[in-house]
Symmetry: D3
Subunit: 335 residues, 6 copies
């Protein structure tokens, strides 16, 4: 099987044990994660070869981050070791009506200061069938945006499938260009896009038509009109009850509209990476199931399971995801 | 801003990790807390200057307890270091239908053996606008009761607002006087009183009138008739589903009856200090909001958040409490 | 009081902290448990003298397992120290729709290779009034089956009450005989049997009669017809909502059919040993209450509490179980 | 084999992890220990039946302490459950030139308030061959002193060997009698006494004669003259290099003077209980070796090993002690 | 007593447990420290009022760092909350021949980007008698250097004693000016300077004269000639045996040369902050002892004790330091 | 660079925290290791491509073990997933005169029951330049011995360098053949052999000649006479002071005799894998240095560093090893 290649920053994640607040912590649990690398790790865990491309400082923290994903079977052989520091994020795990909180400390990271010339995409994509990126990467720096642009171009040239999670975070865009300037060109090169109604309006000025079949479908239809390469628009819908209780649904528009039943998650063990697990699941599903509806059900089952696993990454087998996908959601003890 | 001053015992709290029983524990988590000091710490965390007055043994345990509240910004400068030992309590954290259990080991503590003459209330209250005490303090020893009496007298003389949580615990009163003998005189000096229907009957023989508007309002009205200084009677009502699931409501009577909607807390991370957070929130609210109804809503939101935070003390910002107060209770991830 | 004697394997239980998956674990929590020993420990904790009979390797792991149950007051004086290794099991604690998973590593254990001649049942049962075994023991090896056979025979001769949890696990029976060959003779010697409808069909080919009062009662009636020594058939019924939320009910047939209300358990802290707690509770109840219905209610309350306690063993007092048995299931804080 | 019976207080020991100071601790490691019970546990671990007699509060902390020693094989069947609280001690583990520090919190404990009438020594000593006590017990309260007196009397009547560790701690004697008043009568009933030169002077006014063979021997000779029942005086000599490095030697006088070579311990893992391990080893050695010199060498080897084991109690086998006793002190890896 | 005021950056310190390497860590222990703040905390712990002046980001990490030093009694009331991020450092704790390693991640911190105008030194130094700074602060940024300059000027004007630890770290000076350009002017304003022979040569081109009484004294004499305000030059000399074994000596030149005996530290629990403890001890000693020689002995004893305490800060009492200062270095158990 | 390929069992290692005994442990730290895989991991960490060949059960424990070495950069692509269970070993970490103890539980492991036909050595060795095995592998089972035989044959045919650590452990050889029968043929195929004087006598009946230059050289000379393929015999000599203090020296005979100075290691953090680090270092040194003497010095420096690192594997860089190799053994703090 050919690889799925992902590109983006990996950060060290530091979180107080249990539900402590950061000011209480005398120790912090360490994990490594990033929206794109989490997708690669999900895929590798499911048996689908995957590579992640990133940039780390050439020190023991860059080593630790590399090892963390290499452990999970992700091909980290294209890592560029150069630059000042490893980006961080702090995570407080909320409960009930207290939200979980993420505090980023990624300014001036090795990834933010990457040199696009360090990435030879023709080499990198040699054994690849799919390229995945997110809207976070071009938000970080002009260099990261340029590298994304080049990756997409190289991937299109080689005929890869390209997916993106548009993932608009306004306060990330600090280097002088706006998402509205940068993203359209990048999204135009994609086949599969994760985009919710809010992001579509913020990024592309697309609003669901009044009285449309569903606001999601209406938005997706317009998005596909605007960017003809896009064949599928997908999203998770969260019906969040509390920081400890989520209900999630998968949605897909590919001309027709599909949605899955809601899955109930209580308690939520770890909310981070739930979207990445959805997308990783969808890529896996797209490559291994006959229909987009099945891929979508696989994706939402994978995402639900992720919420029960500590860390950014979804550590599940295909059999476990399929078990939930088949409606076994009562979690009966397995001996 | 002038200080809120609280007076009472601080104990070391020892609890097994997770939901272990005490007989299973090979380590105990350490925190420090006390019903009055928790109020001061809540206030300090919200930006309201607060001082706590107490008595510790002059050893490293007294130091540790002092440091624990000084860390949170509570003025501990009036601490008396004298006496035999630091009081303790053991906490087993229950789950579902198994109750959490508190086992006190406070007999013979430095606080129980305090000498009222060690506390110069005129000095202590110099920069104060509010004095807060609870019914636990006069229950501990004749000396502690006397110190409470003197604190209230000094506070009234200086024109401070005085609040009390009557908090009747029958088995604490062991030194030869009963709560029924001691409390009326003390409560008579207060402006704001936390008192539920049960405590009112036990302590003051006050029973709601049959057919009254509400049993709480009826009790409060009688309490205010009996003790004319009281301007507000408040309480939380708990609709406890299980050790892991609480529903709480705030109630207030100030001539008129006010109540908040119920807030749902599931899971409960740490039940201890929920009442203190309510009172701390109410004091903060009384000092910063225009109406008692707002103060009450702030108080119950603060209390609800406390249930999600490990330890006795409510570690939240004004913004976080107001967020819940405004009805945002789904705890959506904050990035 | 005379002892309840149990017989079976004790394993070391290794589980990752919290909800980690095994591949994430850098440490494993250690406990010791076994379906029969858990019953003895429950009983000892309730004040009922109990002894457990087993076989351990003569090394520090056998010592640790012995100490673990001796700590709880179980008489471990009949332990045989001989043989190759201590059996293990790994437990992943699931959450929500992710199941908890047990992975056994018990092949070639000291217990599996026990020599029946090492157990002098006349000696062992000298102070006993009750013998308890489960269907796991005769599944492990021919030797273990033979020892079970001899224990039952000796117990019948001495007039003890004999109980069994049939607990059919197909993949355990690997030594050349099937459960269907071995179990009937053993069950024939019992007075009290834990058996669900599924196990009755798998082991004894008994199917509830169509249109029967209840499928459980119908099965039980046939079972008692087949094995006239049986006076009571009991079972728990699980209405599992998720790995974190169980609802359990107790059922009993002794000519008449009894059932308890469902008890709700959310969250489930530790699911393992829930059935053993039920049976331990039932034995205790049978010895200390006037009616089987009371024994059953005690048993199901005990089992519900077990789900809130880490480890295999139910660490509760009679007062705590009776509190739940009387309907106090809201877990209000105890001071 | 008949039991060795020990009598004294067991406390909960709370110590910060690693070399933290108490003011730094956010958790405390829990162990249970007491100078006399540690001897019983050492003996039980070596295979010598042993019982410990004590008094605990009738709560989960008393249960936990009971279980802790029952786990180690000590017969705890004579425990009296009555009284207010479990005594505690806090232990800071020093390093290098910073001393370890013990802070007691045992005032008002169940043991201090024991009623001598609760202990029926004729029953307790029924299967005993040896009684051991220490000077700490009569220091705690008049009741504890009286119970010690009665235990010694009963033991003498039954012809048991009686040993005592005089262990003089001036600040413990707070109940109105001095060690100098109480101890001589008690020591007079003993056969084996642990007593150093300093304690002999403080308690009995005995000073080594100038120019004597050795100060220890001179003291011991006088002690035996004063108390003719004493047949052996023993002691450890510590040549302390730092909190992390001890050198210990065993000394014995039984008419003749014996001493062992020094054993070097670096690092010291846990200094507490080193003396109890010495005495437990000496009792074991006295019962199982031909000569006092061998018993002494066994004792000092046992004590040295204790310094490498966390907690109050010496968890070693006879084979391990004999290995060191035979001069194998390089600790080469055992596979 | 008037305050000692210190000025400098405080970082979060993240270290793997035990002797793990960073790549192994699944959790990191959290502490807060900085070369100047550590001095203030040492002094506050010894009972000497102390304030620390710094700049933190206005978020929960800045709060946590503030609380950490407020807990220890340091006046943090002058903290400026502004700027991007909290500086970090990672610490690997070595052992034996493997060195401990510090990896800084402080670029772009709130302190590095401080605005000197935010610090009103006349206000800050109002109750101060002593100002302390180190050569790290002016190395961080032009702003930090300017603030140092202004602090020294204000302190001189008010007649405070000024001390500095020159602490030259070449790779810190990245903002366009060299230490050689900046430091002389700053050091010229100081009364007490910590400076070793190497730093004197690197920073000031001062070389010990051949054949001088001692190289340290020769250097110090020249330094005092060059900067006439300097009255005392001090230093610790380390005779490092391994990462686990240090020997330290204090040196002082004030016209005459003084040195202390070496103190032996084995094992070293935590090497970080040893120099700060020395300086904090020296300031305390200068304020409380009659002679510089006593101050020096106090300082080196304090520093030695620091090596046995986890974290950056020396948590010791005056009595403990004086105990070592008096030659009690064997760390005998204290009960 | 071509790979170094190692072959052997990997076990899960379970060790109590700190210096606890196994009977005290309530948690066990998890690591994965094996004498041969540790060599591969050392090499991968030093930048030398390495692959390890082994057999795991096809479950999450086999996955975890695979991930553990994949994380370190070892090519685990040849792993065979088949068979019953993962082998284990328990490690108690001793201190001072108490030895560390290893308890194996590897009987019936997937590796022991491997089928030699599952390993296609021509494939496996395709990119290899060196094959390494140890005497443990042929000791485990006839199948493992046969696979070793085939690996050596294939390696010789391809002209690889072959090294072996003879590592004789008598009690491992349980399958019907003796080391004396099996090992000579295997060793005959090797170029580099780790063998001490004791193993040479036990396995090959070779005794140093009386009066020889050195017993090691004499033995090595005879060994090379017996097995003419052997070009180098190497060994570490341990001058063990205690479980916490080792001194090690490297020795080599290649016609001439070489030895390194002793390196002192105090404290020993983790003794396990010290020999594997030596060999890994020697292979690295042989491939990267001009002379065997340098390779030997690199090897002993690497081994010394390993003793300071938790776990089986040496996590060091070339720069760190060379630093020690150049005589920097005082472990001065690196900033």
């Amino acid at each position: 099987m050919q690889q799925v290649v992902t590109f983006g920053e990996i950060m060290m994640r530091l979180s107080p044990p249990g539900h402590q607040r950061l000011t209480q912590a005398t120790s912090l649990e360490v994990a490594y994660g990033g929206g794109e690398a989490n997708v690669a790790a999900t895929l590798a865990g499911l048996g689908q070869p995957a590579a992640h491309v990133t940039c780390f400082p050439d020190n023991e923290l860059g080593q630790a981050a590399t090892q963390s994903f290499r452990r999970l079977g992700v091909d980290m052989g294209h890592t560029v070791f150069r630059g000042p520091r490893l980006g961080l994020y702090y995570l407080e795990v909320g409960a009930s009506l207290r939200a979980s909180q993420v505090r980023y400390d990624r300014t001036g990271s090795a990834f933010a200061e990457l040199d696009p010339a360090d990435f030879n995409w023709d080499d990198i994509l040699q054994n690849a069938q799919w390229l995945h990126w997110t809207g976070i990467t071009p938000a970080i720096s002009a260099g990261a945006a340029q590298a994304t642009r080049e990756a997409i171009a190289a991937a299109r040239e080689r005929g890869l499938t390209i997916s993106a999670d548009v993932n608009y975070r306004r306060n990330l865009w600090q280097y002088g260009q706006t998402a509205q300037q940068v993203m359209p060109e990048l999204v135009a090169g994609c086949d599969v896009v994760v985009c919710g109604v809010g992001d579509a309006e913020d990024l592309f000025g697309i609003r669901p038509e009044p009285g449309a079949e569903s606001s999601f479908a209406s938005m997706a239809r317009q998005l596909m009109d605007r960017f003809p390469n896009i064949r599928q628009v997908i999203a998770t819908r969260r019906d969040t009850q509390s920081a400890s209780h989520e209900r999630i649904q998968g949605r897909l528009f590919n001309g027709a509209y599909h949605e899955t039943p809601y899955l109930d998650i209580a308690p939520v063990v770890d909310r981070i990476g739930g979207g990445d697990a959805f997308l990783g699941g969808f890529i896996y599903g797209s490559l291994h199931y006959a229909t987009p509806a099945e891929a979508l059900r696989f994706a939402v089952a994978a995402s639900a399971l992720k919420h029960t696993i500590p860390g950014d990454v979804n550590l599940v087998t295909v059999a476990e995801v399929e078990h939930v996908m088949q409606g076994h959601t009562t979690g009966r003890l397995v001996r």
